[in-house]
Amino acid sequence: MKKRTLLSVLISCTIVLSLVQIVVSHSLSIVGVHLTRIDGEMEGLRASNEFLKHQIASASAITAIAEQAQSNGFSSAEYRYFELPPVAMRSDN
């Protein structure tokens, strides 16, 4: 009786451990797929960041702004105005 119990416990353990091994192996192999996907996403985001950085640099280039200003009708100032520092005034009150 004792022997049969021991045998059935051993068989159950073997089955459970085999299943655990299958599950763990499966999940590990899935992690590899996830890692590949995450690497791909990272590369995509990096490329996208660089592309946006490039777009911003192009749009904010002083030469591009000058061209845009000229096409919008702006030109160099003919007269220059200077803001003088405040001067202390005497109050007559």
């Binding site: 590990l28 590899g32 797929v33 590949t36 660089e50 490039h54 640099a57 280039a61 002083i62 220059r80």
Partner: protein
């Protein structure tokens, strides 16, 4: 018995052969087999380091990186290339014949186009053409196109096919900008996915350091626009403007024409690539006079009120030195010598100084050696040996003839008048910033006291007087004190001076009482007039007027 022995020997022999073979495979061939197995299990990738950005003083990029791709074809996967060639040619903006010729090559893998931008690559990806692949191949990007091209330099390929900076900052700081590539070695399964419990070695790339410059984009833009307009107006063959902050030696702008676009540098002649501000020399002519005059005042040999006689040409041995316009003014003060740009007066000052003092001054002012500016192509201009100075050489150097110097040397020397006598090292880079936040500040370097502060102030006033006299007076923006000096030097050709070819120049600083900038303008062979006062000076004052407004300096 014999049979048994025979079988025993045969078995022994068979086992020996197996052992020998196993020894061969497992010991002798271990390394090569391991390598073969690793090649199947391990994925290797060099992770490229991003080249560091070059940033203007306000932190906006002057040089950066742009994602680009090498588009290639795997011919084995393209059964009928003729069907996709027209589409490829259209999207890649290439001739159909050019793409066809690539397909005609014998290789299985053929490159179709390098440095294809993200938008174009995406358009091709969307077409889902079989056998067409993409490999990342970043390229250098200059958002301001050709602006400050001579300062920036460009990135090309070296003999090993690797990216390398040439000329300007790209060349000078190539090692800092390049960074160090990383490396990934990862065990992967048959599907190419990483094995999480497998071996992984990863060395992260060390991206290049960023350079933050003293260069102000707005000032650079003003300078380039005005120089371009001025060169067209005066018909000059070439022109250079350099602007330096006299307190720090920081170069806020530097422009030269003709120029080039660093992103397509190969389309321009090679001689356009070097920076004339540091690589070309010129005879400074009269712009050199304030330097010699300052040296004479500093040594207490003359004072601004001392007088000389300018009643006619002056004889030096067999040579006769005339005034620039053949006009003579009789008795002149030292201030008058600068105002009238008197060669005769300067020769008399040089004679009072003597050759040893002049040579010593030239050396102290840094002529005869590099300024040490952080640009790759700075030229070393040598002074003649001490015992080779003849009387005529000492005489002519007093009015800027018979001496060659680079524009940056001239700006630095005049900067010493503007900043109270200190000879500062000109610098392009203000700081170097690493990816991990480490900052290396390039502190201003004072290399010596060229003049006493009182001398610098005296000569400043004499230069202001020189500007407020004659044709220059109308150019000076109202309400400002600007110190300056014109120069017109003939171009030496085969041992003599060509009377028709001149280098017109103007050097000065503003505001004279608290200078914000020192500026040199040079024009090579202007057609409308040979004189610095009517060509280089108008450009100087146009730029100065814009800069005074930009810096918010109001008129007095």
């Amino acid at each position: 018995m014999y049979r048994l022995r025979f079988i025993f020997v045969m078995v022994l022999l068979a086992f020996t052969v197996i052992w020998v073979r196993l020894f061969y495979w497992q010991v002798l061939s271990h390394a090569s087999l391991q390598e073969l197995a690793d090649a199947q299990h391990f994925y290797r990738l060099e992770i490229p380091a991003a080249r560091g950005d070059i940033l203007a003083a306000d932190g906006t990029p002057l040089a950066s990186n742009q994602t680009a791709y090498l588009v290639f074809a795997e011919k084995i996967n393209i059964p009928e290339p003729e069907q996709i060639i027209p589409t490829l040619a259209k999207v890649l903006n290439e001739e159909e014949a050019s793409i066809s010729s690539r397909f005609a090559e014998n290789d299985r893998w053929v490159p179709l186009k390098h440095h294809v931008e993200e938008e174009v690559a995406q358009e091709l990806r969307n077409l889902e053409l079989a056998g067409i692949g993409f490999e990342r191949e970043d390229k250098r990007y200059y958002p301001e196109a050709s602006m400050a091209a001579h300062l920036l330099g460009f990135v090309g390929k070296n003999e090993q096919g690797e990216n390398q900076g040439y000329f300007g900052l790209e060349g000078m700081y190539d090692k800092d900008l390049q960074g160090k590539n990383g490396f990934l070695r990862q065990e992967r399964d048959a599907a190419g996915n990483p094995i999480i419990i497998g071996k992984t070695e990863r060395i992260e790339p060390k991206n290049g350091r960023a350079l933050v410059l003293h260069l102000d984009k707005t000032v650079q833009f003003i300078v380039e626009e005005e120089l371009k307009k001025g060169m067209e107006r005066f018909g000059a063959k070439a022109g250079t403007v350099v602007i330096m902050d006299p307190r720090t030696g920081g170069i806020t702008a530097s422009a030269s024409y003709p120029s080039y676009d660093p992103s397509i540098y190969w389309k321009f002649p090679e001689e356009f690539r070097r920076n004339p501000a540091v690589a070309d020399t010129f005879e400074p002519g009269s712009t050199f006079k304030p330097l010699i005059m300052a040296a004479a005042i500093d040594e207490r040999i003359v004072t601004p009120e001392d007088t000389i006689d300018e009643s006619g040409p002056i004889k030096i041995n067999e040579y006769s030195i005339r005034s620039w316009n053949n006009e003579y003014h009789g008795t002149l003060t030292m201030t008058g010598v600068l105002e009238y740009s008197s060669n005769v007066g300067m020769v008399q000052v040089a004679q009072k100084m003597g050759s040893s003092r002049i040579i010593s001054f030239l050396k102290n002012a840094g002529f005869g050696k590099k300024t040490g500016i952080d640009l790759q192509e700075e030229t070393e201009v040598f002074l003649r040996a001490d015992d080779e100075w003849r009387d005529i050489d000492v005489a002519t150097v007093s009015f800027g003839q018979g001496i060659a110097l680079t524009p940056i040397q001239m700006v630095r020397a005049i900067g010493a008048i503007a900043n109270g006598g200190k000879l500062v090292k000109p610098q392009i880079v203000k700081k170097i910033v690493a990816e991990d936040g480490e900052v290396i500040e390039m502190k201003p370097a004072v290399e010596g006291q060229l003049y006493k502060p009182a001398t610098a102030w005296t000569i400043t006033n004499m230069m202001v007087a020189a500007v407020n006299q004659g044709v220059l007076k109308r150019l000076v923006p109202e309400g400002y004190r600007i110190a300056g000096k014109t120069g017109t030097a003939q171009v030496p050709v085969e041992g003599h001076y060509d009377a028709d070819k001149t280098i017109a120049s103007f050097v000065g600083f503003a505001p004279a009482d608290d200078p914000k900038f020192v500026m040199l303008v040079t024009l090579r062979e202007p057609e409308t007039s040979p004189w610095g006062s009517t060509t280089a000076a108008p450009i100087f004052f146009s730029i100065a007027e814009e800069l005074l407004t930009y810096y918010g300096i109001s008129p007095q």
